[in-house]
Symmetry: C2
Subunit: 440 residues, 2 copies
Amino acid sequence: MKEFFRPKSIAVIGVSREENKIGHVIFKNLLEAKFKVYPITPNAQEILGVRCYSSVAEVKDNIELAIICVHQSLVMSILEDCNYMKIKNVLIISSGFSEVGNVKAEEELKEYTTKNNIRVIGPNCLGLYDAYSNLDCIFIPKEKLRRPNKGGVSFVCQSGALGGAVLDLLASKHVGFSKFISYGNAVDINESDLLQYLNKDKHTKVICLYVEGIKNPEKFFNICKKIKKPIIVLKGGLTEKGSKAAMSHTGSMAGEKEVFYGIFDQLNLVRVDSLEQMFDVAMLFDKEIKLKGNKILVLTNGGGFGIISADGIELSKNLKMTELSLNVKRRLWKELPPTVNIGNPLDIVGDANDERYKFALENVMNDKNVDCVLVIVLYQTPTLDEKVLEVIAKFNKKPMILVATGSNPEYLKNLNLVSFDFPEKAISALDKLVGYYNKR
Amino acid sequence: MKEFFRPKSIAVIGVSREENKIGHVIFKNLLEAKFKVYPITPNAQEILGVRCYSSVAEVKDNIELAIICVHQSLVMSILEDCNYMKIKNVLIISSGFSEVGNVKAEEELKEYTTKNNIRVIGPNCLGLYDAYSNLDCIFIPKEKLRRPNKGGVSFVCQSGALGGAVLDLLASKHVGFSKFISYGNAVDINESDLLQYLNKDKHTKVICLYVEGIKNPEKFFNICKKIKKPIIVLKGGLTEKGSKAAMSHTGSMAGEKEVFYGIFDQLNLVRVDSLEQMFDVAMLFDKEIKLKGNKILVLTNGGGFGIISADGIELSKNLKMTELSLNVKRRLWKELPPTVNIGNPLDIVGDANDERYKFALENVMNDKNVDCVLVIVLYQTPTLDEKVLEVIAKFNKKPMILVATGSNPEYLKNLNLVSFDFPEKAISALDKLVGYYNKR
């Protein structure tokens, strides 16, 4: 399946001269990423300085991947051309199949590609994006849909628009990606195949999965059982109304919540309640935050945030507020001003500066009673500014999560820190992470 | 109590020449806001071009509000000067009282001000901010802590740093404010007094309250019963660990979750689970979104977001997915392309343009089966850009909430729309709002 992500040569079928048309955008993306790419169209001699071919049959090269962007009515004849040229990997962007009730066309497509051993992603999908190979088949221009940078998150998503919107948002939040795959109606390659592939992908550290239905539950179960990487899953169509909508969206049988949840829990998939939480948790896995226990220490320069965090941790499923060791407490008592509250939360109060954060972190990181530090930084106080994050970022002896309300994301992106705006979000993401490791 | 927010003349006591010192920042803020303000310090003749006085006793004017920024050890003698000059309203920023165990000093302060009928906000607080009168006693420069624009949200907050961090964040999200009050240790004026005052404040549409303890539960109960405006409350110190931390933060007895929740529910206060949710809900009240029922219609150009929203609504406490009337459905069937899914969610699919949004909204807004429309706009699709929001913003026949993932907040701020990044957040905020109106 690597030909879908690192093809040696590509044909884009249905490339228009018009800049905003699907085929044009994809062709341009691939050209800019320096792929060997052939534009196929009978309506132009040359597009963006590249010679056009009226059919793949004219191309004197081994095409590893064909990307089909033509009208639904033309897809079958294009597939015949592809088969004639022995093209074995096809991404079908074109829509107009089962999702609009055109079940017959989809069955025909499926039958033909199965018989001829053609592997298919799609139809009715947004395409693929690989931050490492620079393969970018997303048909929305970069000005409208920003692409995320390199990282360890891969996102498998049945829905195209949802995937695109999320990708755009995550790019602005500097969540690093490996691969994004919108697989649409899944006539051939489905979520199970993609999970299996991503399990072997060296850049993927965590897999995010938005599914409406599972095409082949037995296969899904058997593949997931073997996957060593964390899988975070959000299921669309949990309720009757949602499930009905899923039917007309990707033709998926969404089915009962309890059944899905039972399977997910058995497989130790990380179930999330929202898209936002999905990527909050993914960020933690991406930064390889791995807890050996559940004992959390809250370090803060604001009392209120400390209290809210203590409540959140105590009310969570898997986390516990720790008690600092007596020798660590003694050292803190000795060196810190009397206004500081030595305990958990460790409230180093409103006049804390970089030095005080450093001293506190040095000590709590060395405490055997601490598995993870939740560091709260409110740098609206007079004695701090964003530079304190550079001091904090140097500590790596134990896992650490940052809550820095009102941070500039541009400033944060170069520091290897996981940062949240609000403590509640940090805690619920951490809770999911610890739940995952507890069950392994 | 209006002298705290619209004083005719102010003395700032403890103004340093140093730009980042508390007194200096406050003095500068007030000067820039064109208040009649007297800097009090024995150490300078003139600061920012204004003549300094060594004591309030030297000022030949009626001072309506004194703001005390001196060291704790000097507070009592300053209060005596204030009393001598018949100053009746005092804001004490200075810390070093019960929150650090100095209970005696706090009792002395309380006794003296009670005896002499001096009203006090503080000590140990961040101060006040009024977006309408421009009174700004927050001692953090605007470059470090952005101030929100005018609006209908007032935020009463015992914790200073928490309040400041949230204010800064909300300013960047364009949540409009009336008043922000950080009231610290509350020796005199407490949450109950402030709620009573805000109930009469014409600019305040919704009150957000972060409390650790309630100073006088009976008074709180009786005042809240009379308040007509929605109060959204977040309680710090719900758990044992959180409660213990609250004790050393604002000296509050935080106490048992069930007791507080019982009282809050009886008073129809809107309980929220996180700071973020507090302001999500506040935004809805600020925009005067008021539902007469709970029947929600989801309009979307992305199937996945529609499905997630349908699930969220059906799983919520107070909301229901509605069924469009037959005559509205017929009209939509007749005019919209066959790819559109007429139902709820009403999925006008990936090639929806401004016109299609307009047509769909016109029709669903007129449907008696619809109480509120959740409008999802994924403008990463080829046929849309942010301008569609201008079309959407014109509809006001029924309440409407927007989910526009990846929006530019700068673009949104001039449109009178409530917008969320993710459907789950919009739905949980709306659920709280409907819960509030159901119980009235």
